[in-house]
Every structure is written in structure tokens, then in C-alpha cells.
Symmetry: D2
Subunit: 129 residues, 4 copies
Amino acid sequence: MQPRGFDAFYGLELLELTPELARAQLVVAEEHKQPWGIVHGGVYASIAEGLTSYATAKAVIPDGKGAAGMANQTSFLRPLSGGTIHATAVRKHGGRTTWVWEVEFSDDQGRLCALTRMTIAVREPPAPA
Amino acid sequence: MQPRGFDAFYGLELLELTPELARAQLVVAEEHKQPWGIVHGGVYASIAEGLTSYATAKAVIPDGKGAAGMANQTSFLRPLSGGTIHATAVRKHGGRTTWVWEVEFSDDQGRLCALTRMTIAVREPPAPA
Amino acid sequence: MQPRGFDAFYGLELLELTPELARAQLVVAEEHKQPWGIVHGGVYASIAEGLTSYATAKAVIPDGKGAAGMANQTSFLRPLSGGTIHATAVRKHGGRTTWVWEVEFSDDQGRLCALTRMTIAVREPPAPA
Amino acid sequence: MQPRGFDAFYGLELLELTPELARAQLVVAEEHKQPWGIVHGGVYASIAEGLTSYATAKAVIPDGKGAAGMANQTSFLRPLSGGTIHATAVRKHGGRTTWVWEVEFSDDQGRLCALTRMTIAVREPPAPA
């Protein structure tokens, strides 16, 4: 699965997509920052949303279902101004109608930068645009 | 104040920035969508983050302080596949070290599409990159 | 509808339960506080959970459905050490499978003390214990 | 450290309080349930709030500081109608002004029932009531 749309636009790289664990990364560029030189919080939220949506979709599409974000709760712990953002998502709940993932973001030194709890609705797939 | 960095990259338009109320919009394009044709959840989270950060920064910079996102909690209520996203942020708390905003996103018909509660830390400004 | 179980145990008083707006209050006593003399955060979270669950249940039970909390996001803005907690819940989304409420808590002077975003799942009712 | 106030009132038992890991439990009784026979969501939120506040306070009080809940985000994954709730809190961030904990709740069979992300403000202690 390759990122498309917004995830391709800002540069998300998917590394691993399994039903229980998923990983992605983003090489930080100027266009990912806010005006004060650190990575924009929306970038972490976007990575969490994309990563867990792709992982869930990949798992449920064979059953004729789709996946769409329902809630995204991101906490920012340590500002990052360069290098690569490493995102690891662990599935905490795989229910019939919702999946819940915890996503951790770390920098090149392995320090935790942000956390997202992502709730994904599992549904009939939306009609193509 | 004009959006810079990530907010300029994805196309945020700031309409009003006061300490109590702030508004912005985004004209939806293909690059804002996820693969299934609806607006990517990270786009709403990014707008909330940018809008409330600019509004808070504009208010506290004259006091020698800065603003940075601390937590972003976005709930997705109604998928949107085109038109303009209208974002309105109302400040609920303006404390010494944190501000809390509630952001509502609606479509061109005024229907609520998403909600964000945004917590902004008010601090000494981070050093420029 | 009268509070039962945990809500009766800690003393919740329901004042108004409509599908769009709901109100409750709690007279603060020593058993609602944490060791440092202010109202325990779990009390606000419990009020939000109870109030919006009762309001949603009252609306959907006639359709043969039930309501159960799915996510509770509470932010604490101003500590409270006595008087009455006034809770007002406004429904933001009334979908087929989820309802989303925003709950505001204020003190006797009308100052905002806490905020909860409450997501309620609308489902077939759980079997009685 | 023994639970006092609200935590004593509903019956929290603290098992372990270290700066990085904390554990507690609650034996479920009728007064912890909502009217449909399952544990009230406010109970999980209260346990998370109490457990992480005690653990943080124990660590920072020797430095002349106090701890107070700032945000509590609880997701409910599996209803529980009896037995014991087992809560384990892992500290994800130990900053100068905020600590962030992830709390997992499981039942007697080790199944995950709920998750809380708890943000604790580290501050000068509030004056005693």
C-alpha cells in the first residue's frame, strides 16, 4: 500500500502495516514546520491518522469493509526541529465496529516526541469520490 | 498574520484572529483527501492547531511570550468531499500557562463536520530554528 | 429518570434530560475531594458520563436501543473547593451509532471549571447483570 | 500513601507508586455500576486520575511541588460487570511542568477494558482546604 492524497502530499513513508503493529516515518523538511521552527502539531496528527487508517483498511478490506478516522487525540511532548519522525502504532483494541491504536513518535535519538490515541471506525467502505 | 510553513503548504487561510474568537477556512482540493475520497482527518487537526496557535501567539507575543500546541483532540463527525472547510475557534480558558480553545468545522451548508479541543501552552518563545 | 448505581452513590442530581440539552448538578462534599482539598477530577468525568448517558438513553430507549460511554475527554481548568458544580451538556452530533456531547462545568459564580467531550455509543442494550 | 477523599469513598486500593510505574485495583461492587449493570465509565476515569496523581505527587512533593490533573482522556473498550479492575499506569513523559501517563485497565482474565491518557500538572501545591 502506498500513501495517496494528503499523506503523499506531505511525504509520509509507510514501513510496515500489520493488523497489530504499524510503522511509518517522515523526513522533516521546512514545509512541515510552524513559523517558530518546530514541526507543526498537525503533522503528527496526520501521520497517526494516515498510518492507522492504512493498517486498519488493509486488514478489513478483504472482509468488504472500510476504515475511517473517528477520533484523534495527540499530545505534544518534545519539540522537534529536524531529522526523521519515527512513528510506531500498536493496536490496543480490534472490535467489530472500532479499532483503537496507540501511536508513539520518536526522534532520531529515540526520544518520545508525541503520542496519539487513534480511534478508527470499521464500516462499509465510503463510495469512491 | 499570514500562515507560514506547514499551514501555508496545505493552504490555510486565516480570516480573523482575536484573543477570544478566531476563524479560518480551507478550500478542499485533491491533495487534502485520503484515498477514499474524503478529507483526511489530519487536515482538520492541522487547521485547529494552526488557527489557535496563531490566535494565541498574536495575543501573547506583545508580552514577550510564545505559544505552542500541547494537546489536540479531534473528533470526526461527518465526512466532507469538497467545497470549503469553515473553522471557528472559541477560547474557553485563557490561563497564565495554558489556553484552551474549542474549534468547530462546518461545510458550505453549515453542517458540523468535526470538533477539536486544542490546548495551547503559553511560554517563553522557542529559539528560532 | 433518577440516577442509580454509581451516580446515586456520589450524589448526582439530574435537572433536565432532552435529546439536545441536558443539565445536572452536584453539591460538593468532603467525599468528592482529593487529598489537597479540591474536587477530584474523576467527579467531573463521572458527572459528564452519567448525564450524557441518561440523556442519550432516554432518547433512544423508545427505539429499542441503549447507550454506553465510548470516550470521555475531560480538561480541568479551574479548581473548585466547595459550593455546587453546575453541568450543562449540549449535543453536537446525533448519529445512528454515536452521539457526541460537549459538557461544561461551572461554579456558583458561573466560572468555567472543566470541559468534557463525551462520545456515547448507541447500541442494542446490554443484557441486565 | 493511602487514598483519601473521593478515592477512599469509592474504594481505590493503591498497590505500587513509583515515578515511572504505578498500579492500583478496585473490587467491583454494585455502587460502581451504571443502571444497565456494567461498571460506570466515571469509575475508570477516577481510578486513572487518582492513581497517577498519587504517583506524581509522591515523586514531586519532596521537591516542594504538587500535582493536579490537567486532562483525562478515557476510552472504553470492553464492559465489565464484576470481579476486580486492575489498573497499571506507565509514565510516558516527565517534564518540568507536566507529566503524561498511559493507564491500562484489565479484568481478572487480563483483557483490556479501558485506556486513559492522563496529563498531570506539576505545580506549587494548592493551599490546604
